[in-house]
Symmetry: C2
Subunit: 222 residues, 2 copies
């Protein structure tokens, strides 16, 4: 019982800070996504493709979450985008407090889109709000179609599922129909895009979706 | 500070139960592995291949850890192997207490090898001992070669790294040399096998390693 109440306290504290982050983002007009997936599903490559596709229309900033190292932040910085690295030091997700601290080093005045790339983990990141407008998740075809059944919370919490590495479909036994059906069982409102960040297949539909969300967000504020 | 001491308490309690499990396994002569990887790296398929390769020589039992569902346990049961499913109910790893409870439903008298398949997660499972002799991890080629740098603890804690899905090497950009070198930086004693559970490439070396470990364990007891 003691353990359970501690977990509850942590979540409540996190929710309070997430609301504070959200209020700041609303005030500044920043649309925010929380990008989640297993390790190696293609989060950083999707961030790169999204920046390349939108940077002429929108001002973008990125927060990179990793247990250690700055490799992903270096990849983003090469595209000329303001980026801050969170190192969780063993922690398996980023939380609202880490994002709040990262904002001290990341000017967001005039930023239209803030992308938070979470630690690679299909479980815990879904439990911690950071002040995002939308959670976006990636499932890559080599991981298998059983993932919605095995890790339902992330599919339930996300607005968008990107099924990535579609270029590998001929070489892996991925049941696309089952993956889509089981993901929609977790979350009937889930928007699903089939993409390859290697061949750029399907990415234009994703870029249209996120542009529309940014515009909708701007309209609700005006 | 309060949060840190709670985490310490949880780990101490887990370590105590893990030692108790270990004492029971020693008494019964059961060699135990804790199998860990990202979601979809191929843990259950490796369990199947290992059972197929060793079941004529050794008596094997399996504990399957998943957040929910019994799909993996059903796959193992089809091979005629005693199996118990742990459902963590949202928890991102199995711990010593869950294994202790699973043993109530899993007779281990006469069992030579107990395989514990952990929840798919490259972070937290490495922090919780369950009473195993060896931690064994899988990294699959589509995940990318940067994983040892990003998730060093699991590589540090494991005795064996299986680099799986070698059959996909022509279709993914996986820097095998870098993955091997960086994994060995985390853990110079790590034994590395390159395998494909689809084509069976490299699996005989893995089966020899685990057979040797079972025999060594029997000798230390006699």
């Amino acid at each position: 019982m003691a353990t359970i109440s501690v977990v509850k306290q942590v979540l409540d504290a996190n929710d309070r800070i997430a609301r504070s982050n959200r209020a700041l983002f609303n005030q500044k007009g920043v649309y925010v996504i929380n990008l989640m997936s297993s390790p190696g599903a293609g989060k950083t490559t999707l961030v790169e493709r999204t920046i390349e596709g939108l940077k002429d229309r929108y001002r973008i900033a990125v927060i990179e979450g990793d247990i250690q190292d700055t490799y992903d932040a270096e990849r983003v910085a090469k595209l000329g985008i303001p980026v801050v690295q969170i190192n969780t030091g063993g922690g398996c997700h980023i939380d609202a407090n880490m994002v709040q601290e990262a904002l001290a080093d990341l000017p967001i005045d005039g930023v239209d889109l803030l992308i938070n790339e979470n630690v690679g983990n299909l479980v815990c990141p879904a439990e911690f709000k950071i002040g995002e407008n939308d959670k976006v998740m990636i499932l890559s075809t080599p991981e298998g179609a059983d993932k919605p059944s095995k890790y339902p919370l992330m599919f339930h919490e996300s607005s968008v599922l990107l099924i990535n590495k579609m270029d590998l479909m001929p070489y892996v036994s991925f049941d696309l129909k089952k993956a889509r059906a089981d993901a929609l069982k977790c979350n009937p409102h889930l928007k699903i895009f089939e993409v390859s960040c290697k061949t750029n297949e399907g990415l234009s539909a994703w870029l249209t979706w996120i542009s529309d969300r940014i515009e909708q967000f701007k309209q609700t504020r005006s």
